[in-house]
């Protein structure tokens, strides 16, 4: 049996008196596609924020590839192989679309402290960034400042940025939120393709029908607690889950 790539032990965070994530013990196995579902305010985003280092927990531990990363800052977790997007698009608005991705490629390559060479000398970074933009169908907008992108395009740009980091674990918080309906299939297809690669994906998503076919495992959060986990069928049949969340949707 493989070791889990991410393990949380009694992971808890409190905001004032409110416990947003409440003693969550979860093992994520490598190369799995895991979807996290749960009602609004269940603590899904907060859970991602804890995993990625945006927040530090009140108590509990986080292990990543066997290392205790509970106390290490976000940029080091990225370098260890975690890549995340944000529920609300988070890009570099005044930089061009290409530069957004190029910066991620550069970060991944480890060229951080180089102050005398021109950045264009590293042409492979731009080539790679352009190829990534192509994979999310944004290469036509490479030269525009990214603030001019439509909402759905910004989400796609974020995906390209994360892919550039070549993370072992992808944390995707509602990547299709706010996208036009006709754009969703392209992203779904991209996610499906990612799944076949060697990488672990954690996805928060409200469109349950969409995650069903993609996911190996569903994890249900409610009120900050881990309510259930299992394969999609098990979860759909779980009465507790139906009561807490799925309501009328389950067959």
């Amino acid at each position: 049996m493989a070791e889990p790539i991410i393990r949380t032990q009694d992971l808890t965070i409190m905001f004032g008196g409110h416990t947003a994530v409440d003693h969550v013990n979860l093992d994520i196995m490598p190369n799995k596609f895991v979807s996290i579902i749960g009602p609004n305010g269940a603590g899904k985003t907060t859970f991602f924020n804890l995993l990625s280092g945006q927040f530090f927990p009140t108590s509990g531990r986080i292990l990543f590839k066997g290392h205790d990363v509970t106390d290490i800052p976000a940029h080091l977790r990225t370098r260890l192989g975690m890549g995340r997007n944000f529920q609300i698009s988070n890009i570099f608005p005044d930089l061009t679309v290409l530069e957004n991705v190029r910066l991620a490629v550069q970060a991944r390559s480890g060229i951080h402290y180089q102050i005398l060479r021109h950045h264009r000398k590293y042409s492979r970074f731009s080539d790679q960034a352009m190829a990534l933009l192509e994979s999310v169908k944004l290469s036509g907008k490479a030269a525009q400042p990214s603030r001019f992108l439509a909402h759905g395009e910004k989400r796609k740009l974020e995906i390209a940025i994360i892919l550039a980091l070549e993370p072992e674990v992808l944390l995707l918080d509602e990547p299709t939120a706010g996208m036009a309906v006709e754009e969703v299939p392209a992203i779904l297809e991209l996610l499906a393709r990612l799944k076949t690669d060697k990488r672990t994906i954690l996805l928060v998503e409200h469109k349950i029908d969409m995650v069903m076919s993609l996911s190996d495992t569903l994890v249900v959060l409610a009120n900050g607690r881990l309510l259930a986990q299992g394969n999609p069928r098990q979860i759909m049949e779980n009465e507790q889950v139906q009561a807490a969340y799925l309501g009328g949707i389950a067959p």
Partner: protein, 343 residues
């Protein structure tokens, strides 16, 4: 990784990486004109004014590295300018006007400023914008008070004068010296902002959180920015002291920082040349208004008039003069976004 196994060579994308580049022709032309100025006019006051504009332009550009390229608002930048100026003044006042001591002043300035920029930066740069600005204000006041109270060395606000090497006393020679310094610093800073590290600074300015989640150590980058801006500001301070042959606590004041802030905003933050333009406009305006003061005393209050000018520019040219010009140009020839892959 999907689709990226075969990197497609696209030469055109080089041109797409940054927004329209200000072409090199204008700066080079300007440089040629400036080189010719002493040949055309023997006016000492003209050369002095331009020299001052060059030096303050260097200071303003160093401020633009912080404000325009990293997104850091500092009220303590004059600290570095003042350190360079005092270093020069004290060394020449205590030794003699030999050229060799100049290198001691420059070297000592670099060393001291680097240490100061690292320590102050390390203590304050983790703080969020407003708190950071406040801390820099506190440091600026602290050093100002030290300079003020340490009269045995600095002679406080009264300051002290000193002799500089004879060659540098020649106005024409010094004009060229500062022009060369300016040109070298422009080349260096342009290199820096176009380097991989410089690009990360701009990313931090745009979105600090996203930069951190790309794996960049944001604090370290801000420290680099602070050190480079500080060292360049200290060069300006050295050059300033050499020109004035006099140093007082005035070089350390928050006013001095505000001058740089105004020049940068007037010209356009995040453009580098904007800071130079700002220095030019400020220097010329000051000069012009003090000339006018002979005509009517209202112009003695040039700071007020200058304030009005500043408000006008901020209101009508958001992004500064150069920033606005560049924006107009980039919307005119809207980037053609048709890219043929693998040409």
């Amino acid at each position: 990784m999907p689709d990226v196994s075969l990197p497609t060579r696209m030469h055109k994308i080089r041109g797409l990486l940054s927004l329209p580049r200000s072409s090199r022709t204008v700066p080079i032309l300007l440089l040629l004109i400036l080189v010719a100025v002493p040949l055309i006019t023997p006016s000492r006051s003209m050369l002095n004014l331009l020299t001052e504009i060059f030096i303050m332009g260097i200071f303003a550009m160093s401020y633009d590295i912080l404000l325009g390229y990293t997104g850091i608002v500092s009220f303590g930048h004059a600290l570095f300018f003042g350190t360079g100026a005092y270093m020069t003044g004290l060394i020449f006042a205590r030794t003699g006007p030999k050229l060799g001591y100049l290198f001691l002043a420059i070297g000592g300035g670099i060393l001291l400023v680097t240490v100061m920029a690292l320590i102050i930066g390390y203590l304050s740069l983790r703080l969020k914008d407003v708190y950071y600005a406040m801390i820099t204000l506190a440091f600026a006041e602290l050093f100002f008070i030290i300079a003020e109270k340490w009269r045995s060395v600095t002679n406080g606000a009264d300051g002290f004068s000193f002799n500089v090497p004879a060659v540098l006393q020649d106005r024409v020679v010094y004009y060229y010296v500062s022009l060369v310094l300016l040109a070298l610093i422009v080349v260096f800073l342009r290199r820096f902002i176009e380097s991989p590290t410089g690009k990360v600074l701009q990313a931090i300015r745009e979105n600090e959180k996203r930069a951190e989640f790309l794996g960049y150590d944001v604090l370290k980058f801000k420290l680099i920015s602070n050190v480079i801006a500080g060292v360049v500001a200290s060069f300006a301070g050295v050059a300033w002291a050499l020109q004035q042959r006099f140093v007082s606590t005035g070089v350390m004041t928050v006013d001095k920082t505000i001058d740089a802030l105004l020049m940068t905003t007037i010209g356009g933050t995040g453009t580098l040349y904007g800071a130079l333009l700002g220095s030019g406009i400020t220097g010329m305006a000051k000069n012009w208004l003090s000339e006018l003061a002979k005509v009517h005393p209202i112009f003695e209050r040039w700071y007020i008039i200058f304030g009005l000018l500043y408000i006008g520019i901020v209101l009508f040219f958001p992004g500064g003069i150069l920033g606005t010009l560049m924006r107009i140009r980039s919307t005119k020839n809207k980037p053609s976004v048709t890219i043929s892959a693998g040409d």
